[in-house]
Amino acid sequence: MGNEKDRHGGMSKRLQALIRKEFTSLKDDFVALLIVDAEKFAETNIELVKILKHENKLPGVYITGNVPYKNLKEHFDSHKVDLKDLTFIDMVTQMSGEEAQKEENCVFVDSPDSLTELSVTLDKAMDKIKGREKFLILDSVSTLLIYNKDRAVEKFTHFLANNLRENPGTKGILLAVQTNENKNALEMLAQFCDKVVKLV
């Protein structure tokens, strides 16, 4: 079944249906932890953004800690994802030593270990979005756990989840790839979320 591909986008139909089932039915605000297999990760973020942006017409913020904005944009463009009203926060480019080009819809943070800077930048990006309904995708908490101590990521996630809840109309999805090393930390983070979805 895992090889069954959609002719148009290459997305596994089963995965697509699962994501759709889990997230289109959520009417109100939520903070969800979405645990995905590493090999399904690239497909999952495409599908999520399509559901939130194309179908629900929501503006939002996408935090990328795995792939530089430049590459992620190419990835989204190749899958015909509309990037209008989507602000990116890139935690990768500056860390890699590459000079961050000024981009209209992207803000660069030093590195995935700059949690305070990330929090401040995210706050500003969310504030800039007009209207009540919006979304946030954090890609990913597993990356944050590589670059920071578990305790710091727990504190950050707790703060983030509370902040999202204080802003009615906001949907937050925290992406993660589960490994043997981060299993316990993810269990702790799950406590701060309203829902845990496992696509593994």
Binding site: D110, T116, V120, K155
Partner: protein
């Protein structure tokens, strides 16, 4: 209890939120910080905001830097100190380090000359240089604290942090100061991070967390809604 006190708003919105709306009027606050943490900037801003937003005159007693250097420093920000000095809203005085009694007289005279309601003494760590013995330093510095409180001028005295511990101001911070604010400029693995914490503020419910700071052309911005996530 916080609502009953008359307060001197620092004018830094984020900081005022952390201390119940401002420093209780006439109180003495010690502001301790690492080098580069923003102490002098924050103190100048305290006086600038007072003069421009709250019509409260202020005095800056500099025990180290020349008046010209401070004026030059202030031009890094969007503040026009020259105009405020010309209008006698603010006075910056450099006091030489040889006579503690002269320092006390200068403080009293300068504050009363413009009816200042705000006072900054920077940096308090050099007080010790006035005295031969620690005992003498302790007695006289505590006396300074009591004098400031009698004058009912809201005062900030800066101090230095070293190895994450504040150098002692000979009991001033423990026995006389009503508030202690800590500014950190901490080196992490590959970068620096600035933050602020309130150790104590008399009659005030304070935040017990560390909060990040930003310094820009507008001065210091305390991000009271944010927390510091890095361990320092």
């Amino acid at each position: 209890m916080a609502a009953d006190l008359e307060r001197t708003k620092t004018g830094l919105v984020g900081l005022d939120k952390l201390i119940g709306g401002g420093i209780p009027k006439g109180n003495l606050v010690v502001m301790s910080g690492d080098p580069g943490s923003g102490k002098t900037c924050l103190c100048l801003q305290f006086l600038y905001e007072g003069a421009t937003k709250f019509n409260e005159n202020g005095v800056f007693i500099s025990l180290e830097e020349d008046v010209e250097e401070l004026e030059k420093f202030s031009t890094l920000f969007d503040w026009d100190f020259k105009e405020l000095i010309a209008k006698k809203k603010i006075k910056i005085v450099n006091v030489e380090l040889y006579d503690f009694d002269k320092l006390l007289t200068t403080i009293e005279d300068t504050v009363s000359s413009i009816n200042a309601e705000r006072l900054v003494i920077d940096p308090g760590v050099v007080f010790r240089l006035y005295f031969k013995t620690e005992l003498e330093a302790r007695k006289r510095i505590l006396g300074l604290g009591k004098m400031l409180k009698r004058m009912n001028v809201t005062t900030v005295i800066t101090n230095e942090l070293s190895m994450e511990r504040a150098k002692s101001l000979y009991g001033l911070e423990e026995y006389v100061a009503d508030g202690v604010i800590l500014l950190y400029h901490t080196k992490l693995e590959n970068r620096f991070v600035r933050s602020i914490g309130i150790l104590k503020m008399r009659g005030t419910k304070i935040s017990e967390k560390l909060h990040p700071l930003e310094i820009s052309k507008e001065g210091v911005k305390v991000l009271s809604e944010q927390e510091l996530f890095e361990e320092i």
